[in-house]
Amino acid sequence: MPAQPTTLLQGTLDLLILKSLATGELHGLGISRRIQQMTGNTFVVKPGSLFPALHRMEEEGWTSSFWGDSENNRRAKYYRLTKAGRKQLDTESKRWGRISWAIAQALEAS
C-alpha cells in the first residue's frame, strides 16, 4: 500500500464522503474505495474514522441510509445524499476552494 495516510483535517473527511456520494448511493466500503480512487490513493479512510463520520452525518441530516444488496449479493447498508447533503457539499466545496487557493498563495509567496 503506497498510501501514507495524511492526517485529515476535520471537515475534509466530511467533504470527501459527500463528494463520493455525489454520483450515487454507496455502502461503507464503497465510499472508502471511492475516496481512495478519487484521491489517487492519497487518503485511505479506516473504518474507525469512516463509520463515526457516516453516523454523525446521518444525524446531521446530510445523508440517509437503507439496507440493500451489494453487487455480489451481500446485505449492506447504503448511504445517499439528501437535499441538505447536496447543499452541504456545495458549501463545503466552495469553502475548500477558498482554503486551498489561500494556502497555495501563501506557499508561493516568498
Binding site: H27, G28, L29, K46, P47, G48, F51, P52, A53, H55, R56, E59, E60, G61, W67, S70, N72, R74, R75, A76, K77, A84
Partner: protein, 891 residues
C-alpha cells in the same frame, strides 16, 4: 426541521438503544464480509483474506465504540448504564446495602425528626397573616447582678399605658395561661379551657370570627357585659356546628355569658383555649400584679423603632416600677421582639442542642459508612484495575462510585424520611398536650428538602474517602501492593472508629448527666408520704364561690363526704399540692430583730386536715385545727426553708408576719415548682400555709382574693386511702357531687402523675438525648463489628498460618481484636477531652449534679468498653471456625 430530526435521533438513540445497536452490529459485520469478498477476489486464500480484512477493520468493538461516542445523547447513555450498573451492585450485595440503608435510615431519620421540631418551632412562620408584624415586648435589665433580657408579664398599669400611649401598635393582653372552668349549656356541663383575652386580641392575631364578631371594647371594660367566643372545634363537637348559636346564653363560672362569635376552622391562638372570654383588665385586682401576657401588632405605616420608642417613653414614666424592686441601680429598657422568638425562646436552647446531637449522629454514621465503602472499594481494586486497563478514564471510574453512593444515599434518605416520620409521631405522643407552643409539627417541603440535602451530603461525606482511594489505584501495582493498601486502610478505619467512639462518648456523657439530673429531681426528699394518695382537681373559678362563706361550706361538706368513703383515712383540700406550681407573694416580718424585713414566699391555703393527709412531718408548734376560723386569730404554718430564710433557722413559732398573722407551726419542706425564684424545675423554698377558712381577708385587705386565686389555680381534693385505689375516683366524684352537683372534677392524679407533669421537659430531654446516645452507641458497635469481621475475613490465610504454627484461639482473638480495642481506647480518651469542653454548655439544664460527674463518666467508659468488647469478640469468634489445613491449601 434540523432540530426536529436531531431530537428524533436523540430519542431513538436513548430509547431504542437495542435496535440502533443491532443495526450498527450488522453494518460492521457486513463491512467485514465485503472486505473479505474483496480480498478473495484479489486471489488470497480464505484464511489470509479473513486476516487482512480484520486488520483493515481494526477491531469491530473499537469501531462500534467510536460510533457510539459520536452519537447524540451518548453522555446520557453512559450515565444510564452507570446507573444500571450501580443498581446491580446494590442488588448484588444485600448485606452491605442493608447495613448502609439501615444506618442511613436511623441517622437521617433522627435528623429529620429533630429538624422538623426546629422547623416548627424556630423557622416556620406563625400561622397568622403578616407574622413579621407581630411581636411581644422584652424587658432588658442591665447594671445589676441579675441582668436579664426576657419576656415579662405585665401589670394593669403597663397595659393601660401600652393601650393608650403607643399608637404605633395594636396591642392586646391575655391571662398568663388558660383557666379550667365549667361551661353549662342547657343541661350539658363541659369542662373547658377558658382563654381570657382583651378586646383587640383577635385583631392582633388578625383572626376574623367565622360567625359573629370579636369582643367589643365595652365588653372588655371591668364589669362589662359577659360575652363568649367559641373555638371552632368546640362549636362543631359540642354544639354540632349550630348556626343559631349566636346570642345564646351559657353558664360559665355559673354566670350567664352570651355567645358573640365562633373562631374560624384550624385557627390557633397562643392560648389554644376552647372558649374565650373578655379579660376586662384594669389596674385593680389582678392588674395589681404582673398577671397579663401581651402581644402586639405593628400598624401599617409604623416602624418597630417608633413603637419601641413609644413603649419606653410611656413605661419608663411609671411611678411604681416593680422591675427595680430588689435591683437598685439597674437600668431598665424595653424592646419589641418577633412573637415567634418570644414564644419559643425557652425551648430554643434545648431544641438546638438536640439538633447538634443529631448532627453528631450523622457524623458517626458517616464515619461508619466511609469505613464500609472503603472496604468494599478495596475489594473492588481488581475490578477498577481491569476497567482502567480496558481504557476507562479515571473520571469514569470516579463517576461510577459517586453514582453508587448517591443511589445508596437516596434509598437511605427515603428510608430515613419514613423512620423520621415514625420517630416524630412517637415523640409527639410523648409530649404532654399543649407542651409545644405550636399547633402542629408537619413534615413539610422544608423538612423534605433538609432530608434530601442531608442524605446527599452524607453520600458525599462517606463517598469521598473511597473515591480518593480509588484515584490512587495504580494499574501496575494494584495486584502486587494489596497488602500495603490494606495496612493503610486499617489505620484509616481505626481513625474513623476512634472519631465515632469519641462523639459517642460526648453524647453518652451528655445524656448520662441528664439522667442523673432527672434522678436527682425525682428522688428529692418528698417531705410527705406520696403512697396511697389520690387527688382530684376541680375548678372553683365560679361566681358562687366568690363568697367566703359558700367556699367554706363547700370545703367542709365535701371533705366530710370524702371522709365517709370506705378505706379513706383522711381527706383535705389545698390550693396546691407538692410538685405543683405554687403562687407567691411578699411577706413582711413584724417583730423581733427582723422587724420590717421583706421577702417573697410561696403561699397557699389548706384545710386543717392537709398536713395529716399528706403526712408532712411537723417540726415545731401545731398544725391548723377547726378552731382556726374566719373570726379567730389569723395564723400560718411555715416550712423549714421559711424559718431558715427569715429567722436564720431558729424556731419561728410565736412570731408575727404582716402585722396580724401568727406563725403557729413549722413543717418539713416539700419540692414544688416555683414561680418565685426558679432555679430548678423542682425545688424546696420558703412556703407559708394559711387556713382556707381565713382566706377572705387574711392577706389582702381589698379585692376579691378568692375569685383571683381560683382563676389562677384549681384546688385539689386529696384523700389518703388504706385500701385499693380502684374505683376511688368515682367515689370521690360522688362525694364532691354531694356538696355541689355542678362541680365536675377536671382530673384525678396520683402524686407520681403530678411529679411527672412538672418534670415533663426533663423527661423528654432524657428520652430524646438518651435515644440519640443509644443510637450513637449502636452505630459505634456496628463500626467495630464491621472492622473486626472484615479483618478476620481478609486475614484468613495469615490466621491459618499462625494456627498451624501453634497460636491458640485466645492469642489470635487478641491479635485481631486489638485493632478494635485500640481504636475504642483512643476514641474514649479523645471523647473525654471533647466532653470536658462540650458539656459545660449543659450546666444550665442539669440539677443536683456537676458537669464533671465522676460516676457518670465511669458509667460511660464502662458502657463503651462493654459494647466495644462485645462488638470485637462476636466477630472474632469466627476465627474458631477457620481450618488451617484448608486455608493453607487454598492458595
Amino acid at each position: 426541521m434540523p432540530f426536529l430530526r436531531k431530537a428524533a435521533g436523540f430519542l431513538r438513540n436513548v430509547f431504542l438503544t437495542r435496535r440502533v445497536e443491532r443495526d450498527l452490529d450488522l453494518e460492521v459485520r457486513s463491512h467485514l464480509q465485503l472486505l473479505i469478498d474483496e480480498n478473495l477476489c484479489a486471489g488470497m486464500s480464505p484464511p489470509e483474506a479473513q486476516r487482512r480484512a480484520r486488520m483493515e477493520l481494526g477491531g469491530a468493538e473499537q469501531v462500534k465504540q467510536q460510533v457510539r461516542e459520536q452519537r447524540l445523547g451518548d453522555s446520557l447513555h453512559s450515565w444510564i448504564s452507570d446507573f444500571r450498573f450501580g443498581v446491580r451492585q446494590i442488588y448484588k450485595n444485600p448485606g452491605f446495602t442493608l447495613t448502609v440503608v439501615l444506618t442511613l435510615a436511623l441517622s437521617v431519620g433522627a435528623n429529620t425528626a429533630i429538624f422538623s421540631l426546629v422547623n416548627a418551632l424556630l423557622l416556620k412562620s406563625l400561622p397568622y397573616p403578616h407574622p413579621e408584624r407581630m411581636g411581644t415586648i422584652y424587658t432588658r435589665i442591665v447594671g445589676s447582678s441579675a441582668g436579664s433580657d426576657q419576656r415579662h408579664n405585665v401589670n394593669g398599669e403597663q397595659w393601660e399605658l401600652l393601650r393608650d400611649n403607643v399608637p404605633a401598635l395594636v396591642s392586646a393582653v391575655s391571662g398568663v395561661r388558660t383557666s379550667g372552668v365549667n361551661l353549662k349549656a342547657g343541661s350539658h356541663v363541659e369542662y373547658v379551657q377558658d382563654g381570657r383575652v382583651s378586646a383587640h386580641y383577635f385583631d392582633v392575631l388578625a383572626l376574623q370570627p367565622v360567625l359573629g364578631r370579636n369582643f367589643s371594647e365595652d365588653e372588655d371594660r371591668p364589669h362589662g357585659p359577659k360575652a363568649l367566643i367559641l373555638s371552632y372545634d368546640l362549636w362543631r363537637n359540642v354544639f354540632a356546628a349550630d348556626p343559631g348559636i349566636l346570642g345564646q346564653t351559657m353558664l360559665l363560672r355559673s354566670e350567664p355569658h352570651t355567645v358573640v362569635g365562633v373562631l374560624p376552622q384550624d385557627s390557633t391562638t397562643p392560648l389554644n383555649a376552647d372558649v374565650y372570654t373578655p379579660l376586662q383588665p384594669s389596674r385593680e385586682d389582678e392588674g395589681r400584679g404582673t398577671n397579663f401576657r401581651c402581644i402586639i401588632r405593628l400598624r401599617d405605616g409604623s416602624a418597630w423603632q417608633q413603637a419601641d420608642a413609644e413603649i419606653n417613653r410611656t413605661w419608663l414614666s411609671r411611678s411604681g416600677r416593680y422591675e427595680l424592686a430588689g435591683n437598685p441601680g439597674a437600668k431598665v429598657s424595653y424592646h419589641s421582639v418577633p412573637l415567634q422568638k418570644g414564644q419559643t425562646d425557652l425551648l430554643r436552647p434545648q431544641v438546638l442542642g438536640l439538633m447538634v446531637a443529631a448532627g453528631l449522629i450523622l457524623l458517626i454514621a458517616c464515619a461508619n459508612l466511609a469505613g464500609l465503602t472503603l472496604v468494599r472499594m478495596l475489594r473492588r481494586t481488581s475490578e477498577v484495575a481491569t476497567r482502567l486497563a480496558l481504557g476507562a478514564s479515571s473520571w469514569q471510574i470516579q463517576r461510577q462510585f459517586w453514582i453508587e453512593n448517591l443511589l445508596l444515599a437516596l434509598i437511605g434518605g427515603a428510608a430515613g424520611t419514613g423512620a423520621g416520620f415514625l420517630g416524630l409521631r412517637s415523640l409527639l405522643l410523648l409530649l404532654p398536650e399543649h407542651f409545644l407552643p405550636v399547633s402542629g409539627v408537619p413534615l413539610d417541603a422544608r423538612v423534605m428538602t433538609f432530608t434530601l440535602v442531608v442524605s446527599v451530603l452524607t453520600s458525599v461525606l462517606f463517598g469521598m474517602l473511597p473515591a480518593l482511594v480509588a484515584r490512587r489505584v495504580d494499574l501496575r501495582s494494584s495486584m502486587a501492593d494489596r497488602a500495603v493498601a490494606r495496612a493503610g486502610s486499617l489505620r484509616l478505619r481505626q481513625t474513623l472508629l476512634a472519631g465515632e467512639v469519641a462523639l459517642t462518648v460526648v453524647l453518652l456523657a451528655g445524656s448520662g448527666l441528664l439522667i442523673r439530673s432527672l434522678i436527682h429531681l425525682e428522688t428529692l426528699p418528698p417531705g410527705f408520704n406520696p403512697n396511697g394518695l389520690m387527688a382530684a382537681k376541680a375548678s372553683l373559678d365560679d361566681v358562687r364561690y366568690h363568697d367566703p362563706a359558700a367556699f367554706r361550706k363547700l370545703l367542709d361538706e365535701s371533705t366530710a363526704a370524702m371522709q365517709q368513703i370506705p378505706g379513706v383515712l383522711n381527706a383535705a383540700v389545698g390550693l396546691n399540692l407538692p410538685y405543683e406550681f405554687v403562687g407567691n407573694d411578699w411577706v413582711t416580718l413584724s417583730d423581733g430583730k427582723e422587724a420590717g424585713q421583706q421577702g417573697g414566699a410561696d403561699w397557699l391555703y389548706v384545710t386543717p386536715g392537709y398536713f395529716e393527709t399528706l403526712q408532712m412531718p411537723l417540726l415545731a408548734g401545731r398544725v391548723f385545727t377547726e378552731a382556726d376560723g374566719p373570726n379567730s386569730q389569723h395564723v400560718a404554718v411555715v416550712n423549714q426553708s421559711f424559718a431558715r430564710k427569715f429567722y436564720g433557722g431558729s424556731n419561728p413559732v410565736g412570731r408575727y408576719i404582716d402585722k396580724a398573722i401568727l406563725i403557729v407551726g413549722e413543717v418539713a419542706d416539700v419540692p414544688l415548682s416555683s414561680g418565685l425564684d426558679s432555679i430548678a424545675p423542682l425545688q424546696t423554698e420558703q412556703t407559708m400555709y394559711v387556713p382556707a377558712a381565713q382566706v377572705d381577708d387574711a392577706r389582702i385587705a381589698t379585692g376579691p382574693l378568692l375569685a383571683l386565686l381560683h382563676v389562677w389555680h384549681q384546688p385539689d381534693w386529696i384523700v389518703r386511702t388504706a385500701g385499693p385505689v380502684e374505683g376511688l375516683t368515682g367515689k370521690m366524684q360522688r362525694a364532691l357531687a354531694k356538696a355541689d352537683p355542678n362541680l365536675p372534677a377536671s382530673g384525678f392524679y396520683a402524686m407520681k402523675d403530678l411529679q411527672a407533669r412538672t418534670l415533663a421537659t426533663q423527661r423528654i430531654e432524657v428520652a430524646l438525648l438518651g435515644a440519640l446516645a443509644a443510637l450513637a452507641l449502636l452505630l459505634s458497635a456496628v463500626g467495630i463489628f464491621a472492622l473486626i469481621a472484615n479483618m478476620v475475613a481478609q486475614r484468613t490465610r495469615e490466621i491459618g498460618i499462625r494456627m498451624a504454627l501453634g497460636s491458640s484461639l485466645g492469642q489470635l482473638m487478641v491479635h485481631i481484636g486489638r485493632a478494635g480495642v485500640n481504636a475504642s481506647l483512643f476514641g474514649v480518651v479523645l471523647g473525654l477531652v471533647l466532653s470536658a469542653g462540650a458539656l459545660r454548655v449543659m450546666s444550665s439544664v442539669i440539677y443536683g449534679v456537676g458537669v464533671y460527674d465522676v460516676r457518670t463518666i465511669l458509667v460511660v467508659i464502662l458502657a463503651i468498653f462493654a459494647v466495644a468488647l462485645l462488638a470485637t469478640i462476636v466477630p472474632a469468634l469466627k476465627i474458631a471456625r477457620i481450618d488451617p489445613a484448608r486455608t493453607l491449601r487454598e492458595e
